[in-house]
Amino acid sequence: MDGTDLLTLIEGNGDAPEFDPGMSDEELLYCYGTMLTVRAFDDICLKLQRGGRIGFSIPNKGIEATQVGAASAMRKSDWIFPSYRDFGMALYHGVPPVQMMHNMFGNAEDTTRGRQMPVHFSWTEPIHFVSISSPIGTHIPQAVGAARAFQYRGEDHVCLASFGDGGTSSIGFHSALNFAGVWKAPVVFLCQNNGWAISCPSDEQTASKGYAIKAQAYGMPGVTVDGNDLLAVRQATLEAVARARAGDGPTLIEALTFRMGGHSTSDDPSKYVPKEQLEEWAKRDPVTRMQRYLERRGIWTQAVEDRILAEAQERVAEAARIAEHTPRPGLETIFSDVYADLPAHLRKQGEAAFDLAKRKGDAVAGGGEFPL
């Protein structure tokens, strides 16, 4: 098996013949609700950005099944090394939307203290959702290192490293998969092939036959899964996680999906994404697919939909309201957390900054805009 066969469990019409996910109705509805929450979060962020109230966001439309499906295979004691497009993983594990919104507004309650751009989340609770970094691929070898720490202590926890198709070209991808292969480290590598890396299509990213096949270069199994099929992603991840927990080493999963929005709120994909491609993928919407599945299973009705959706929308709207009215971080946050202790030269620089603010008032924010 070279990883190029596609695993699909839910068909387009919602049928999942002969597959029992082993999940309760509640669990299934929770997954579905999380997908709707991702979409609601996405929508409101787009509006906030268009209204100039936040600077930037990252559309998630189209890839909700991959995120939620993968996250649902992880335990709270596992660590997630996410990409910036993994809202659903955080939501699934119970990060309150308001915490996410604090980050979107970069305010004083943001766990990153407003130091990072929006969508660069960091949490240790309720799951280790490791501080997102902008440079592509750097987190992948870190996941391997963290996994090695589990191994060393004899713990059966697993790291999930999530990245895009573009991320496979990074140096971190190569180092990480190579080390993980040699170490048989308990890591699951999740490549979310969403068709594009900003404006670079997958076939200009690599000449290989898909991404799962790259696993062969590192002596680990590679599997391709329908990324718009929550159950398939979940299943593939569960299997990979089980292998990792059992000490059998890493797996590379390629989830085939599609970025239905722009790369970010500053990107205009109509300049480069062919209309037909977009239309084609719109037909495979992961939320609709899941909805149909739940309907066949007899647990979806329009009333259920309305309730879940309204709840999701209200949760994120309320979160945005709170976050918007939370003050911005204090001046001292520029200087803290550079080191465990504040070194003398930073103390001096900080004192000078406070002194300036006292004498001349606060600095004036510029009008710069984020381009991408």
């Binding site: 600077g55 930037f56 970069g106 305010n107 203290r113 407003g114 130091r115 990072q116 751009m117 660069h120 970094s133 902008s134 440079p135 592509i136 691929g137 573009g166 991320g167 070209s169 990074s170 140096i171 890396a197 900003i198 404006s199 670079c200 200009e204 990213q205 690599t206 500053s266 990107d267 300049k271 480069y272 911005r328 971080p329 001046l331 946050t333 520029i334 200087f335 550079v338 030269h345 930073l346 620089q349 900080g350 900054a353 300036l356 603010a357 001349k360 606060d362 600095a363 004036v364 924010a365 510029g366 009008g367 710069g368 805009e369 984020f370 381009p371 991408l372």
Partner: protein, 324 residues
């Protein structure tokens, strides 16, 4: 003469060179059909074809490594690194290879190439879309480091950099991309590398700066002038090889110096300017050589305007050295 933004001047510079020299190739992430995330390469693929302006896979190491190979083999590559913050995966290729190729091969192999990259704060980019790493490169023998501060210079320095026989790190002040307009001659012209520009004359205090900070210095100088202090603003333009004599002359003329950049202070580029003065012009100094810089921390997001030097901080320093 047309009035262009700094961004348009870069675009114009690229087009001008590409029209004249078929060995010039432009590539990087998203520089093709999309025209770059800042649109610096807009229209290039259209005009010159995908053979001369194209997207690459997401690998700065590959971009710079391939550029070196092309440069060795007769081309004049102009590689874009989308944000200067993302140049570090290519650091090895830049520092170990491009910078040392001529030396280690006794001149048999050379790397005439340009790496263009937007740098600096002011766009709410946080830690990873705001950095000013010039001193990493300025410490690297074999590289040239160029930073324009006006549309005119952006085009003229860019063309000079592409024509230069050595590898050039060309850092573009992204904060000025769309905010700064100026007259830009049509057609080809160069601004000679390793020459300073006196952005403003003044006999009391000299401010050394470059890139986006030139505008800040000018604003502070304006304010100082109302208080009777005449400030010279010196735009360094080429950080390596620096016109050291020019710097020392400008320092000696006023005897009072402020060094300004947005990069962190410790071991930053400003230290070199101070050190040159401390070694070769200390007898002329009538006040401490004061640095106004970004803080020695990563670059924050929400508070970026508190992090970046502004006219108020610069004016403070000017007054300090003036009244010393």
């Amino acid at each position: 003469m047309p009035t262009l933004t700094l961004l348009q001047a870069v675009n114009d510079g690229l087009k001008t060179v590409m029209r004249n020299d078929p060995t010039v190739l432009v590539f990087g992430e998203d520089v093709g059909p999309k025209g770059g995330v800042f649109l610096a390469t807009e229209g290039l693929t259209e005009e010159f074809g995908v053979e001369r302006c194209f997207d690459t896979p997401l690998s700065e190491d590959g971009i710079v490594g391939a550029a070196i190979g092309m440069a060795m083999n007769g081309l004049r590559p102009v590689a874009e690194i989308q944000f200067q913050d993302f140049i570090y995966p290519a650091f090895d290729q830049i520092v170990s290879e491009a910078a040392k190729l001529r030396y280690r091969s006794g001149g048999q192999y050379t790397a005439p190439m340009v790496i263009r990259t937007p740098y600096g704060g002011g766009i709410r980019g946080g830690l990873y879309h705001s950095q000013s790493g010039e001193s990493y490169f300025a410490h690297t023998a074999g590289l040239k480091v160029v930073i324009p501060s006006t549309p005119h210079d952006a085009k003229g320095l860019l063309i000079a950099s592409i024509e230069d026989p050595d590898p050039v790190i060309f850092m573009e002040p992204k904060a000025l991309y769309r905010t700064l307009k100026g007259e830009v001659p049509e057609g080809s012209y160069t601004v000679e590398l390793s020459t300073l520009r006196e952005a403003r004359a003044g006999k009391d205090v000299t401010v050394f700066c470059y890139g986006a900070m030139v505008t800040v210095a000018e604003k502070a100088a304006e304010q100082a002038a109302t208080g009777g202090i005449e400030v010279a603003v010196v735009d360094l333009r080429t950080l390596l090889p620096l016109d050291e004599e020019g710097v020392l002359d400008a320092a000696k003329r006023t005897g009072r110096v402020v060094v300004l950049h947005e990069a962190p202070r410790f071991c930053g580029y400003g230290a070199e300017i101070s050190a040159l003065i401390a070694e070769h012009a200390i007898e002329y100094m009538e006040a401490p050589v004061v640095r106004v810089t970004g803080f020695d921390t990563p670059f924050p997001n929400t508070l970026e305007h508190n992090y970046m030097p502004d006219d108020r901080r610069v004016l403070d320093a000017i007054e300090h050295v003036y009244n010393f």
